[in-house]
């Protein structure tokens, strides 16, 4: 917009910069068994993992593209599946190559680490290039490492859960991830250990036509607590890139896990992600899923409530502007009695953007006295934009309480006039209405992330005006 300052334009481009790097190794474009073997070989993996990858590749090749969700116009042979940016992982930022360190500096990671994080993992292309964890947490037995390292250093723990929650057969993109996965976080929080500050992972795609396939596994043992946060950005290219992650979480008896995502990929990235958690007796799993970037996101974080008293909460915020389709949502599956779940979804569509809420609430036979509430609200800012709701409810038990509310609203002319008649410009007024719309979700976030989310939404609002 004309009145905007240069400073704001700089802000919009804050994530849109490319880093000149010399990759240590870059596999050729495309996917086949040779590439899969090469990745496994580079990582010096045990035989079982190579077999797992090759089997997953077959599943990937045999599965058709999903016929629902968004339009995926992607040439799988025009993607780089593995790019190793550095030799080994830094334990201090000084051990990270200068140009990559600068990248994360510009993204504010080391600063956040000093202020309010208990540990950090920074992934650049296919590998984690930096990792830290507060010393006292290590002494308590907390493991926070990249998943490749976990394969080597914690093989038994990893094998017990790896791909047990999301098998390669689950869907085409879970199969793809299983075949070519690299990086991601492995977290183990021992019994009764409560981690006060968040652990954060930051994912950066830098190269063109890149595919990033991190694989995350989080095990929260009985009575333990953790808050994991992930952020993701990339520079803008005219061609498509792909991000396809698999995240598996086990929340044991009376444990709590909160997983916060602030997804701000560039608008040329397909973000096709499978995320699922199993919550056991009296456990609480919370997904906070913020989707602001990407060309197309298809992501439905799930909570399976496996034992009595388990709870699942999913808060989802989606913002789509020109050229974007956010097909986001949530799944809650009640497998045991006395379980409860809550889904709150807020989506905003602007400048021709499209947001869809796609959700599943399933109650299995025998899951008596289960409760679920789903609220999804959509806000549409102009007549070119679109919002859809696809709620699926499957209940095989009579003794349950299920609530579903959905609303779609457009910013009304009367609301706009009211605010502008008090001296606010039209962009200020619509930003204020949007901020108010998501406020009930934002206020559930820790302060630092609430500030970040608000700022990103303001940037989205400003960026799409002019």
């Amino acid at each position: 917009m004309a009145t905007d300052s240069i400073a704001t334009i700089g802000e919009i481009n804050k994530y849109d910069f490319r880093t000149e790097t010399k990759a240590v190794f870059k596999a050729r474009k495309g996917i086949d068994a040779e590439i899969v073997r090469q990745i496994s070989d580079m990582k010096d993996e045990p035989e079982w993992m190579l077999k797992f990858r090759l089997r997953s590749l077959e599943i990937f090749e045999s599965k058709p593209m999903p016929r629902w969700g968004g339009a995926i116009d992607l040439d799988f042979q025009n993607i780089y599946y593995y790019l190793k940016p550095t030799d080994g992982q830094g334990r201090t930022w000084d051990e990270v190559p200068e140009e990559i360190k600068e990248t994360f500096d510009r993204l504010g990671i080391p600063q956040a680490e000093k202020k309010y994080l208990a540990g950090v993992k920074a992934q650049f292309e296919s590998e984690v290039v930096y990792g830290s964890l507060q010393e006292d947490l290590g002494k308590k037995g907390v493991i926070f490492t990249d998943t490749d390292t976990a394969v080597r250093e914690h093989p038994e723990l990893l094998r017990e859960y790896f791909a047990k929650i999301i098998s390669p057969d689950d869907n085409k993109f879970a199969a793809l991830n299983s075949a070519v996965w690299s990086g991601g976080s492995f977290i183990y929080v021992p019994k009764g250990v409560k981690i006060e500050f968040p652990l954060q992972a930051y994912f950066r795609i830098n190269a063109e036509n890149m595919g990033q396939f991190e694989r995350t596994l989080i095990i929260v043992d009985e009575g333990a607590e953790v808050h994991y946060v992930e952020g993701c950005t990339a520079p803008m290219y005219t061609t498509e890139s792909l991000h396809s992650a698999v995240v598996e979480i086990i929340v044991k008896k009376h444990a709590r896990c909160r997983y916060t995502t602030i997804q701000n990929w560039a608008n040329n990235i397909y973000n096709l992600v499978t995320k699922r958690a199993m919550a056991y007796e009296g456990a609480l799993m919370e997904w906070i899923d913020g989707n602001l970037g990407s060309k197309l996101t298809m992501k439905y974080p799930a909570v399976y409530m496996m034992e009595p008293g388990a709870r699942g909460e999913i808060l989802s915020i989606a913002f789509s502007s020109a050229g974007q389709h956010q097909d986001a949502g949530a799944k809650v599956v009640h497998c045991a009695p006395d379980t409860s779940s809550r889904i709150v979804s807020k989506s905003i569509s602007k400048n021709g953007g499209r947001s869809s809420y796609r959700g599943l609430c399933k109650v299995m036979k025998g899951a008596t006295n289960s409760r679920s509430s789903v609220v999804c609200d959509a806000l549409i800012l102009d007549s070119e934009s679109r919002s859809d709701t696809y709620p699926y409810i499957e209940v095989d038990e009579a003794d349950v309480s299920i609530g579903h509310e959905a609303s779609v609203s457009r910013i009304g002319e009367e609301q706009m006039f009211y605010l502008t008649s008090r001296g606010l410009t039209e962009p200020e007024a619509s930003t204020m209405i949007v901020n108010g719309f998501i406020e009930p979700l934002i206020k559930e976030l820790p302060m630092e992330y609430a500030v970040e989310m608000n700022r990103l939404i303001e940037l989205q609002m400003e960026g799409s005006v002019g």
């Binding site: 008649s421 008090r422 001296g423 606010l424 209405i433």
Partner: protein, 271 residues
């Protein structure tokens, strides 16, 4: 009052307004100088609120003829926010709810823009501490609980709370000209008295005020210098405060009889 202010006026000349193609106002003339209080009365549907919306710049209210001038400048083409920043305010009969937006945040933003008409988007707002102090002072004056500032704008407000919130905005924004559209409707007698006192206190002798009302209670502490009667989209009669008293006690039959042409237009508007 400083002399120069006395010359500042909101001047409406031969104003014709249509809403969605349907003519509502048929040539309204009215001039309000700073420091004056005007009462605008008239039966439902006579066009009183339409005049307010047109002056405040609602995009649905199309000026088809005539001018609105603010301190000598024609403002027909100004956006609503520019009008507000240059000193026009309308208290809504039915204010809009803005869920999730706190009164205090909304007021801080609005107050900053109105006080600094040249402020660009993204520039700093009035410092929080300074703003809070002023807001607290104004709220105490209006006998409002500070809790009010933490609630979402008009969201779940009772009718009375909405009207008080409008008066609080008036007190913070301190416009040159204020149009109060039935700020007394839905209030009980005590609340109307409080509103009346508050408006008189805020308005002082520097604000030009147009009070749209059916009753004379709101005028108790705001004695009108002029009372206008609107009928069928025109101001048909202007007199002093005694006219407001007459209309309140005896209704509009006499006016309709005196102005048969306007009374006929009134029926046209209503049908």
């Amino acid at each position: 009052m400083i002399d120069v202010m006395k010359h500042e006026s909101l001047k409406i000349t031969n104003l014709h307004v249509a809403v969605e193609g349907k003519p509502i106002l048929h040539g309204v003339n009215l001039e309000i100088r700073r420091g004056e209080t005007h009462a605008l009365m008239g039966p439902n549907g006579s066009g009183k609120s339409t005049l307010g919306f047109a002056v405040a710049g609602h995009p649905k209210y199309e000026v088809t003829e005539g001018t609105i001038e603010l301190c000598g400048e024609t403002i027909n083409d100004w956006s609503p926010d520019k009008r507000a920043r240059q000193g026009v305010f309308m208290a809504f009969q039915r204010p809009m709810a803005i869920p999730g937006v706190k009164m205090a945040d909304f007021l801080r933003h609005a107050t900053t823009n109105v006080r600094r008409p040249d402020r660009k988007e993204g520039e700093d707002l009035i410092p929080m501490r300074e703003f809070r102090k002023e807001l607290r002072g104004k709220m105490e004056q209006l006998k409002m609980d500070m809790e009010f500032a933490r609630r979402y704008v008009n969201d779940g407000f009772s009718g009375g709370e909405m009207k008080r919130a409008e008066i609080l905005q008036l007190a913070m924004l301190m416009p040159k000209f204020a149009i109060l559209d039935e700020t007394d409707s839905g209030l009980d007698a005590d609340a109307v008295r409080l509103a009346s006192e508050s408006i008189a206190q805020i308005g002082g002798d520097e604000m030009g005020i147009l009070i749209i009302t059916h009753h004379d209670k709101l005028l108790e502490h705001n004695t009108p210098d002029y009372t206008h009667v609107m009928l069928g989209g025109r101001i048909v009669e202007t007199a002093g405060k005694e006219l407001a008293e007459e209309l309140h006690s005896q209704g509009y039959d006499r006016v309709r009889a005196d102005y048969p042409e306007a009374a006929e237009a009134e029926l046209g508007v209503r049908s």
